[in-house]
Symmetry: C2
């Protein structure tokens, strides 16, 4: 780390703009493993994330065990079937065609929690907005996502899951709240337009 | 935007690491204005953020009016006094010494909301984890924060506020939930260690 504060030139900020434009929520992964050193680097970059009161409440549990992964896939299948039943007509047909996760292919998977029992931070900044603790974990996931993409690694955030069920599957304590379930690996393809826009689910505002 | 997917070389990823290491929550701002074009660019980069179902639920309201700003400062003062009363002894003395916001100095201020009434995204990804909508706004703030720092602009996230009071002050509709109140401007100083760590409030884990 430089002792002098760094300066960021136009070449860097332009490239940063490309990173943000090409990030994507990835659902199509190659199955080859990620190098351990690369994964450790991404986790270290994630640890630099902002957190309320410097509480650093993020807890990342790797989900590697085949039985655990099957249980997560089953939770997704069940939740997704319920969602599908709520849509009607063309919207239901479109929903059924979407690929929304890479749970079977992604070589690395994390259940990411917020530790509601942590004493770190001494409660600073959380009295009137206690949800700041959860938000700190969201910021960490966002930062991990961007760092991963810069290193050629795709991330997909799966939310069509029963959070309490995933907590039990991952073996996390009761006071850890699931914030996100992440699929991580090298992407099969790269895009600057979100899949939901390409598939006609949503045009978006920008 | 390039038609070909970009590649990010080691020089870029190293610089990105410096950006993450030197981001900081800024509370000491210069009072000079930010160029409009720069602010517009940062907002455009924020708009590239991930959002559940491509819902893009973030709503950024600028708080410029002096009366609005005084009302926000008053909310902070009241909430902060309540927090201080909860700490005891040395911890209270340390808390009282901390500078936790730049509400008086920051030339640009945003109240950032999540639009719970939006139909965009058609509810995708939110059935079992409805909080994903709020998380999408947190991701957008995180992305804005990093883009700002890369362009030499500091951001401070103030959470010691009554969120419902700030919603009314900013004139937002009842179904917009306050996610964060942001102070934005050129920073007076730059650091690679968080202020709360420098001041001895929290050591942190990393």
């Amino acid at each position: 780390m430089p002792a002098q504060s760094p300066s960021f030139d136009e070449a860097f900020t332009e490239k940063l703009g490309e990173l943000l434009a090409w990030r994507r929520d990835v659902r199509r992964f190659r199955t080859d493993a990620l190098p351990d050193a690369l994964l450790a680097k991404l986790i270290a970059l994630m640890e630099l994330s902002p957190s309320v009161g410097h509480s650093q409440p993020w807890r990342w549990l790797r989900v590697d065990d085949p039985d655990q992964r099957l249980a997560v896939q089953a939770s997704f299948s069940r939740c997704n079937a319920e969602v599908l039943a709520d849509y009607e007509g063309e919207r239901a047909a479109l929903y059924a065609r979407l690929k929304l996760e890479g749970l079977r292919e992604a070589p690395v998977q994390f259940a990411v929690f917020c530790d509601h029992g942590t004493l770190q931070g001494h409660g600073l900044g959380r009295r009137t907005m206690p949800e700041m603790l959860d938000y700190s974990v969201v910021a960490a996931i966002t930062q991990f996502w961007l760092a991963a993409r810069a290193h050629g690694v795709g991330v997909g955030w799966v939310s069509i899951l029963d959070p309490e069920e995933v907590r039990r599957i991952a073996g996390a304590p009761p006071d850890w709240k699931l914030i996100g379930y992440l699929c991580v690996g090298f992407p099969v393809e790269e895009h600057d337009v979100p899949e939901l826009v390409r598939e006609g689910w949503e045009k978006g505002r920008s």
